[in-house]
Each structure stands twice: as C-alpha cells, then as structure tokens.
C-alpha cells in the first residue's frame, strides 16, 4: 500500500513543516533579558507529527474522493430502513431511560464540583441546540451568537441589580429581550448573502461586547456585575451546595425542554421552511415561502435560547463581565454545531459534552482547547462536513393500502 514515492512525499511535507514552524516553535526570545531559548525538540516533534499526519491525510482524502464516485442510492433498502427505525426506537427508549436515571442520581453521588461541570456542559448543549437552529437547520452562519448570550446574562445582572428581580421573572424576560435583539439585528442583515451575513453578525457580536466593556454607567465596564442572586426555590435561599444541585436539575429540565422544542420544530411546517431555505433560497421562494419571515424566525428563536442560557449563566456564576462573551465563545458554540452535525439534535448534544468535558477532565488538554477547536472546524469541513452524526430525516410510513401515517 505505502510505496516509495509516498514516503518521499511525506518526508518533503515534514521538512516543509519543520521549516514553516521553525521560528515560532523552535526559537523563543526574551527581548528584555536578551535570552534566546532554542527548543529543538519541538522541531523533531513537528517533523514526526507532520510525517504521520500527511499519511493519514492522504489516506482519508483518497477515501473521500473514492466515496464520491460510488453511488449510494439504495433501491431495495427501503423496507429494511423502516424496520431499522422501529428497532432503533425500542433501543432508543431504553437508552434514554438509563440516561435519565443516571442524570437524576448523579448529583447525589458526585461532588458539587462535578455537578457544576455537568451543568456547564448542559448550558453548552442548549446553546449548541439554539445555534443549531440558525446555522444547522436554517443555514445562516451566525458568528455573533454570543451577543445574545450576553444580552441574556446582562438582562438578569442588571434587572437583578437595579430592580431586584428574581431568576424566575427574568428567565422569560431575558429570553424575550434576546429574541427582540435577534429580530432587531436580524432585520437589516437578512438581505445579505451567506458570508457577508457571517461577518456582519460577527461585527454585531463585537459591538455589543465592546459597548459593554466601555459603557461604565450602564454595565460597570470591564469589572462587570457581581453578587447576582442565585435562583431561589419557592422563595427559599439555598446553600451553595444545594444551589448547585438545584441549578443542575433546572438545567436538566431546560435541556429536555429544548430538545423537545427543537425536535418538534424540526419536523414542522416552520422547520421544513428553514431546511428549504438552507438548501436553496431561490427554490424556497418559488415554493411560496417568505424568505424574510423564515430567516427572522430562525434568528429570533436561536437568540431566545441564547438569552435563556445567558440568564442561567449569570445565575450560576453570580458574576458576569464582558470577557465571558468574546468571539471565541461564539467559535466554541459553532464548533459544537459543526462537530455534532448540522441539524442533528443528538449529534450536537454529544459534541457539546465532548468539547466541554474533555478540557475539564484532561487538564493538559485545556491549554490546547482552542487550538483543538480551530483544527476541528477545518478537519470537519474537509472530511466530514455533515458532522459526526448526520441529521437523519424523519421517515414517514404509509401502509400497503397507501393510507395515512
């Protein structure tokens, strides 16, 4: 399989990468103390890694190219497919039950620290599902999603700080304000083509962050808002420990709610319009679908979840500042959607857990987290643009008499 010319090619590639990374990986100068540090080991590592990577790259690339020319159309697989789904359904149900049961027991077995981590992961699950509506289903690349997250967080922070409003009052209010922002920002930008839309949403995200950073009278600037109230249980103030568990259960409920809503939306008239919009805008309009309205609804709905999670985030950490809402946060949520598979609920959920928990549990990994996210985006686009779990479409069943479902 591996022949001489391949090895030669890989060697050349590895030499090229050693050259390319030489100044940045090998040399480190301290300009003040005038000390030069030579890290030759890095060069060897880069050389070895790129040698191996080039083989893997070639292998997968050839495989992908080959896969393209082979037709995947199955003519007789139709009935088998339906049976499969029926089987899967039973399996899925028991799987879901086990998952649910372990989620319930979890906080009573593990420490508050662990519970907190899972809560964070759940927040990202919901954020991922929210962004998935916009990017995955409706195909609108939103790079400023974090802005709506910030809007939610600051809604709670400010309303709590100034008016003493509680968590339960602000949760819907924050969602609503974020949705309003979604529509407000959405209106002018929705005429734009895909890549311009991406840049403009990025711009909006940054505008909101920088404004929060500089408008001291409004948002207390970079120092942020502290001492935000935790959610209360029927008016009871909870201890730190039990508050963590309480928030954990709230998040479980919210996640289930989100999954439920997204699933329902996906297989509805609105969901089909979003999908159609992603697939072909012109054909979509020709089918009588109002482009503007459909885009706006996706934008607003995506923003709603971000707003809700913003409130949740503020309540969980009791402290917010603009540094939590940088573009990197948007990029991370986007990675979740891309890795999970655009449009797939289970994929996005799994990806959020992997991407949030991995750096938490592999401390060594957490330094490399953003590096890893960047690489994921590139590699996924090249080798598996449909994500790890491709969004399977719902199969409709009609009986032999060709009647309804």
């Amino acid at each position: 399989m591996i022949n001489f010319s391949d090895i030669k090619k890989s060697l050349l590639i590895s030499v090229w990468f050693m050259f390319l990374t030489f100044p940045i990986m090998v040399i480190r100068v301290n300009p003040i103390d005038k000390i030069v540090e030579w890290r030759w080991l890095n060069m060897i590592l880069v050389g070895a890694a790129s040698f191996i990577a080039s083989f893997a790259w070639k292998h997968y690339f050839d495989k992908k190219e080959k896969g393209k020319s082979v037709k995947t159309f199955l003519k007789s697989g139709h009935t088998v497919f339906i049976n499969n789904i029926a089987d899967k359904k039973r399996f899925r149900l028991s799987f879901a039950f086990i998952l649910f049961a372990s989620a319930i027991i979890f906080p009573f077995i593990f420490s508050a620290y662990q519970v907190n981590i899972i809560t964070t992961a759940l927040v990202y699950v919901v954020l991922g599902l929210g962004l998935n509506i916009v990017v995955g289903i409706a195909g609108l690349l939103d790079l400023g999603y974090v802005a709506f997250y910030a809007v939610g967080a600051y809604s709670y922070g400010l309303l709590n700080h100034h008016f003493g409003l509680g968590f339960w009052a602000v949760l819907p209010a924050g969602a609503l304000i974020a949705a309003l922002f979604g529509i407000l920002l959405g209106f002018p930008v929705l005429r734009l083509r895909g890549d311009y839309l991406a840049i403009v949403t990025l711009g909006f995200g940054e505008i909101i962050r920088i404004t929060l950073e500089n408008w001291n009278e409004f948002s207390s600037g970079p120092s942020g808002i502290a001492n935000i109230q935790r959610p209360s249980l029927f008016g009871l103030e909870l201890s730190l420990q039990s508050a963590a568990v309480y928030i954990y259960f709230l998040m479980i409920a919210l996640t289930l709610f989100t999954v439920f809503v997204v699933k329902r939306l996906q297989n509805s008239r609105i969901g089909r319009a979003w999908l159609a919009l992603r697939e072909d805008e012109t054909a979509c309009e020709a089918m009588g679908i109002n482009k503007t309205k459909t885009k706006l609804s996706a934008f607003a709905l995506g923003a709603t979840w971000a707003g809700m999670m913003g409130v949740m985030f503020a309540a969980k950490t009791t402290f917010i500042n603009p540094a939590s809402f940088t573009f990197h946060e948007s990029a991370m949520i986007l990675s979740i959607v891309v890795l999970g598979g655009m449009g797939s609920v289970s994929g996005v959920t799994a990806a959020a857990f992997v991407l949030i928990l991995l750096p938490e549990y592999l401390r060594a990994f957490s330094d490399f987290r953003m590096l890893f996210f960047g690489a994921i985006l590139v590699i996924m686009m090249i080798f598996r643009p449909q994500g790890l779990v491709s969004g399977a479409r719902r199969a409709y069943r009609f009986n032999k008499a060709d009647d309804k479902i």
């Binding site: 995947t72 159309f73 199955l74 139709h78 497919f81 339906i82 809503v261 329902r264 939306l265 509805s268 008239r269 609105i270 969901g271 089909r272 319009a273 999908l275 159609a276 697939e279 072909d280 012109t282 054909a283 979509c284 309009e285 020709a286 089918m287 009588g288 679908i289 109002n290 482009k291 609804s297 709905l301 479409r393 719902r394 199969a395 409709y396 009609f398 060709d402 309804k404 479902i405």
Partner: protein
C-alpha cells in the same frame, strides 16, 4: 374573457441588453401552451419575470384568480406563488438533503399556516393541518409515480425522477398556472413519454393551465394546445402546433434561412 394570464408589453433589460422586447402573451384557462425558441431567445427570462425573480422594466402581467383579476408584476416571488403561479427550474433545484415527501410538503407551506407556537404545542388545529399536509403530499407523490421513494433524500433520486419530483413539489402549492422550464431536458425517450402523460394528466386532474418551455419538438407537438415562438426577446409566432410547424418565420428562426425549401 377566459384568459388566466395576460402579459402585455413586457420589457426586461439587463444592463443595456434588452432581453424581452414588448412581449404579449395570453394563457387561457385549462390549456397547455408551449413556449419555444432558440437558446437565448429570452424564454427563461420571461419565466423569471412571471415568478417575481426579476422585476420587469415595463409592461403588465395580469393573473385572473377566483378572487378576481390582479396585476402581479413586481410582486415578490413567494406572494406570486401564493396567488397561484408555480414553477420548475431548467436545471433542477430541489432541496437535495430533504426527503422526497419533505420536498413536496415544503410546497404546501404557502397553503398552511401553523406558526411556531402551533409547531411546539401541537394543538388540535396544528395536528390536523400537519396530517392534511402529509396526506395531500403523499397523494401528489403517488400521482407523480414516486411513491416508492417517499423517504429517500431528493439528491439520491435518479435524474428523471428528480424532474418529476420538481413537478410534484410545484403542484403541492396548488397553482392555477404551472410553469415548466424544459421539463424533458436530459430525459430519454421513454422518460419523455411518461412525462408527456404526466403533464396531460395533471392538467385534466387539477384543472390547471400549463405553460412550458421545451426544446423537444415531439413533446411540444403532442401535448400542447397552442405554441408560442420567441426569438430575440420577441414573440414571432403563435398558433396551433400544426400551424407553427408550417410557419416559415419559425422555421427560419430555428433552422436558418436555407431550410425553408
């Protein structure tokens, strides 16, 4: 008058280039009208004006619906579809990653109105409407002979079936007038014959008018009630198929002068 669609003095320019010049065309209720002409004569441009993708520079497009006559020139595409004009595209534009039935269901969008709340809470009205959408869509799919592909992704369909699916999807919008842009392009003769039957069936079953652009003369001659010929953005002839095939202007436009032997 039993005109479903009347186009008067339609003009369309592209940066100084006149693509349509003072075009008049009338489609009667229940007829199949074929629009033929050499490549670049402006046929597809005309379709794009009718469906709102282009905004004509001048002229009037009038559609007679059960609710009365109205001008539709310059309206946005989704509104025009709702008024009753549906179309297919010259180079198939399906929703490739949606299933066959979802493609057709997307066509039902403009005839239904469940909103976000309805989709989430699935009230009685929403469920009823969704059931109706599924049923109607399946009905159309069966009619188009695509029943065995219901849950297949559109992109996995053979080419000929994709053409039929596009027609099915357009039909789901309940049009009064169906525009078909070269429906037989790329089909073999068996598939073309099947398409011939499908188009006539659709007209009889749904009592709609059909305007089609086509290069396959056999198909044009066999299914159309009338034929209009375009050249250089102008209508150069109109009449029954047998008249058109004898018309010397048409032969000249199509085959060059010397062919008129």
């Amino acid at each position: 008058m039993d005109n479903l669609l009347s186009v008067n003095g339609l003009i369309m320019d592209f940066g100084g280039l006149r693509a349509l010049e003072d075009l008049d065309l009338h489609v009667k209720k229940g007829e199949i009208l074929a629009l033929i002409g050499p490549n670049g004569a402006g046929k597809t441009t005309f379709f794009n004006c009718l469906t709102g993708i282009y905004r004509p520079a001048a002229g009037d497009i009038c559609l007679t619906t059960p609710g009365g006559s109205m001008s539709i020139a310059g309206l946005p595409p989704h509104v025009i579809t709702k008024k009753g004009i549906a179309r297919t595209f010259q180079n198939i534009r399906l929703f490739p990653n949606m299933t066959v039935i979802e493609n057709v269901m997307a066509g039902r969008h403009c005839r239904t109105n469940t909103g976000i709340a309805g989709a989430i809470f699935r009230g009685r009205a929403a469920v009823k409407e969704e059931l109706e959408v599924v049923e109607r869509s399946y009905e159309i799919i069966k009619k188009a002979g695509l029943a065995r592909y219901v849950n297949e992704l559109a992109k996995n369909l053979p080419y000929g079936e994709q053409r039929r699916l596009e027609i099915a999807r357009a039909l789901a919008t309940e049009p009064l007038l169906l525009l078909l842009d070269e429906p037989a392009a790329g089909l073999n003769s068996r598939e073309t014959k099947e398409l011939d039957m499908l188009i006539s069936e659709i007209r009889d079953l749904y009592k709609i008018s059909i305007l089609l652009i086509e290069h396959d003369m056999k198909l044009v001659m066999s299914i159309s009630d009338r034929v209009a010929v375009m050249d250089y953005g102008k209508k150069i002839a109109e009449g029954r198929p047998d008249e058109i095939s004898r018309n010397s202007t048409v032969i000249k436009a199509y085959l060059g002068e010397e062919f008129v032997a």
